[in-house]
């Protein structure tokens, strides 16, 4: 077990507790950056998909995991991001301008919704955001000149300083672009959590009344968090638009909202790592099931593709299993595993019992 001697307050302010942790993070980023040289076209595209889901998951995590605002409508912000990005690029703006703008538009949209919705919580807020989702879906169809209506919209290909980042023409470049966006967002998110703003988010989540007594403007803080959440999800939506290439309103269905909610709950509410682990699970498990099925067919001769809905069944079982047996999510499980390894052989089974208390988000107020 590692014992850390803290000799200055900066050790608590720094993002990483010790140099080894920083090195590990750099190593991870390095490995991620080298993936295009290792993976084939198909798996690299899947990796891009996972990155985009992780980005959207981080967006939702700000609202659900860190301020306790459940949202069933985040697919709407993905849509706003994607359509804003396509419209702005079609209007002739370069990607470096249109992309942040698309995030900003989604963020302001989310913030405006949150101002009246900030009084609601739990299941009521979830229903209100669901209503927002339905409205956005209708708006997309109605605003045909901008969105292409039912027919759909084409995401223009990206060029920065003459280098192509097209998803089909230059997938590796597009992957690096997504990786850079995800890495920067993660950094900003981690900064947020160690600063007064992030602490105010947690305060609002855990006890509104004492947050107020400490001087936190609860309504404004919740609106800010929801706006940031929508903004990051909007960025993910913009990238998703480029990734899919040609999309219409059906891409942003209610199932995307639900899947996003699964990403954050299964990944582990209240942790950035959770958004990544959740995204890997959500995008990875269907692939894994497909591979398994192919192997069964080729190796054992059992053809499961004839059984309809089997994929969905297995997928659902995994999710239900997680919710019942590991409410702290994948990240919570990993923390326990790590503590067990570090303390080996001194870990006791009841060590984590006292820590098992649900976040207020999880209790429906």
């Amino acid at each position: 077990m590692r014992v850390i001697f803290k000799t200055s307050y900066d050790r608590d302010i720094d993002l990483h507790e010790h140099g080894w942790e920083r090195a590990r993070m750099a190593l991870l980023l390095g490995v991620m950056a080298l993936l295009p040289f290792v993976l084939g076209e198909y798996y690299l595209a899947e990796a891009v998909n996972t990155l985009i889901w992780a980005l959207a998951g981080m967006g939702l995590m700000i609202a659900v995991g860190h301020t306790g605002q459940v949202s069933l409508g985040h697919a709407a912000f993905l849509a706003v991001g994607a359509y804003a990005e396509a419209a702005l690029m079609n209007a002739g703006l370069p990607f470096l301008v249109s992309f942040p703008l698309a995030g900003l538009i989604a963020g302001v949209f989310g913030g405006l919704i949150a101002l009246p919705a900030a009084r609601m919580s739990g299941i009521y807020l979830a229903i209100a955001t669901l209503a927002v989702f339905v409205i956005v879906e209708e708006l997309v169809i109605l605003l045909e000149p901008i969105t292409g209506g039912v027919g759909g919209q084409m995401a223009p290909s990206i060029t920065i300083l003459g280098i192509g980042f097209d998803r089909y023409g230059a997938l590796a470049n597009f992957y690096w672009l997504c990786l850079a966006v995800v890495a920067l967002t993660t950094w900003g998110y981690a900064n947020l959590l160690r600063s007064p703003t992030g602490r105010a988010f947690l305060a609002v989540r855990d006890s509104e009344v004492s947050a107020r007594a400490l001087g936190v403007n609860v309504t404004r803080t919740r609106a800010l968090a929801f706006g940031l959440s929508a903004g990051v999800t909007g960025l993910a939506g913009a990238l998703m638009g480029h990734y899919i290439g040609y999309f219409n309103y059906e891409l942003f269905s209610i199932f995307i909202s639900i899947n996003l909610l699964l990403v954050v709950t299964i990944g582990g509410l209240g942790s950035i790592q959770g958004a990544f682990l959740g995204a890997i699970l959500i995008t990875g498990v269907p692939q894994l099931i497909a591979i398994l099925r192919d192997n069964l067919k080729a190796g054992v001769g059992i053809d499961l593709s004839a059984v309809p809905g089997l994929d969905t069944l297995i997928f659902s079982l995994i999710l239900i299993g997680f919710i019942i047996y590991e409410p702290t999510g994948l990240y919570g499980r990993w923390l326990k595993l790590r503590a067990w390894i570090e303390l080996f052989p001194l870990a006791r089974r009841d060590m984590f019992r006292r820590q098992k208390s649900y976040l207020k988000t999880e209790r429906m107020r």
């Binding site: 302010i13 600063s195 007064p196 947690l202 989540r205 400490l214 001087g215 609860v218 800010l224």
Partner: protein, 256 residues
């Protein structure tokens, strides 16, 4: 001039007059207690002062300024801190993070600076941390700095909540039943801390308390309330001996 002046304060929930015409003034450096039987409206008075409830009538003045119409989140900035009867800590954060939350009213950075974590944010964080460390030392919380609230025993949580209020750097601290649920030894510690808050930090203390031994030990003056109405105001001994107070606690003796 009095630090806190409460004048004819009242709040009615429908037909229930939870607080009805309470007036008192707390002098700077004083330890002032409000006592009364359950449901007397003690905590409601606290919630009115910290602006969680909207009074039906009456005035609250702090340091000469009328705070009756201020919003709840503006109170901390003026230098009024409070604790809650049923501890309201941020359960999924560490003790240190909870105490740092107490510094919120002193924040000098905005959200953009925070996300970029500019050097200014780090400077501010160090300054907040120094202030918080003073509180940690004062309340002897060194051993719990990095512990999650969810795993702490009740007595320690109680102290952490007081620490969070002190981190505001207040002039007036409202303690809602500081000794409830504490053991005899912990109550004794609490008495010393309240004494020290006044002596070392120059704080004014307003508290609601049931434990009369604590009240007589640390308080200068006591206000007894029952059914939202004032009964008696004076030194602990005077109030305890007051016939109306005894009647409110023990019931009236039937005339024989």
């Amino acid at each position: 001039m009095s630090l806190l002046e409460v004048d004819d304060l009242a709040i009615h929930f429908g037909g229930v007059k939870a607080v009805d015409g309470i007036s008192f003034a707390v002098e700077p450096g004083e330890v002032f207690a409000i006592i009364g039987p359950n449901g007397a409206g003690k905590s409601t008075i606290f919630n009115l002062i910290s602006r969680i409830y909207e009074p039906t009538r009456g005035r609250i003045r702090f340091d000469g300024q009328d705070i009756t119409r201020l919003r709840a989140h503006d109170i901390a900035r003026l230098g009024i801190a409070r604790t809650f009867q049923n501890i309201e800590l941020f359960d999924h954060s560490t003790v240190l993070a909870n105490l740092l939350m107490g510094r919120h009213s002193h924040r000098a950075t905005n959200v953009v600076q925070d996300i970029l974590f500019l050097p200014k944010v780090r400077r501010e964080e160090r300054a907040h941390r120094r202030k918080v460390e003073e509180v940690i030392e004062f309340l002897e919380l060194e051993a719990y700095r990095g512990k999650m609230i969810a795993g702490l025993p009740y007595g320690v949580r109680k102290v952490v909540e007081i620490g969070r209020a002190l981190a505001i750097g207040p002039r007036l601290i409202l303690l809602d039943e500081p000794a409830s649920g504490l053991s005899v030894e912990e109550t004794q510690d609490m008495a010393f801390w309240i004494e020290d808050m006044r002596r070392e930090m120059g704080l004014t203390v307003l508290m609601v308390e049931h434990d009369m031994s604590l009240v007589t030990q640390v308080c200068d003056r006591v206000l007894a309330v029952a059914n939202g109405r004032p009964l008696a105001l004076g030194t602990p001994a005077e109030v305890q001996g007051h016939p109306d107070v005894q009647a409110a606690y023990l019931g009236t003796e039937r005339a024989s």
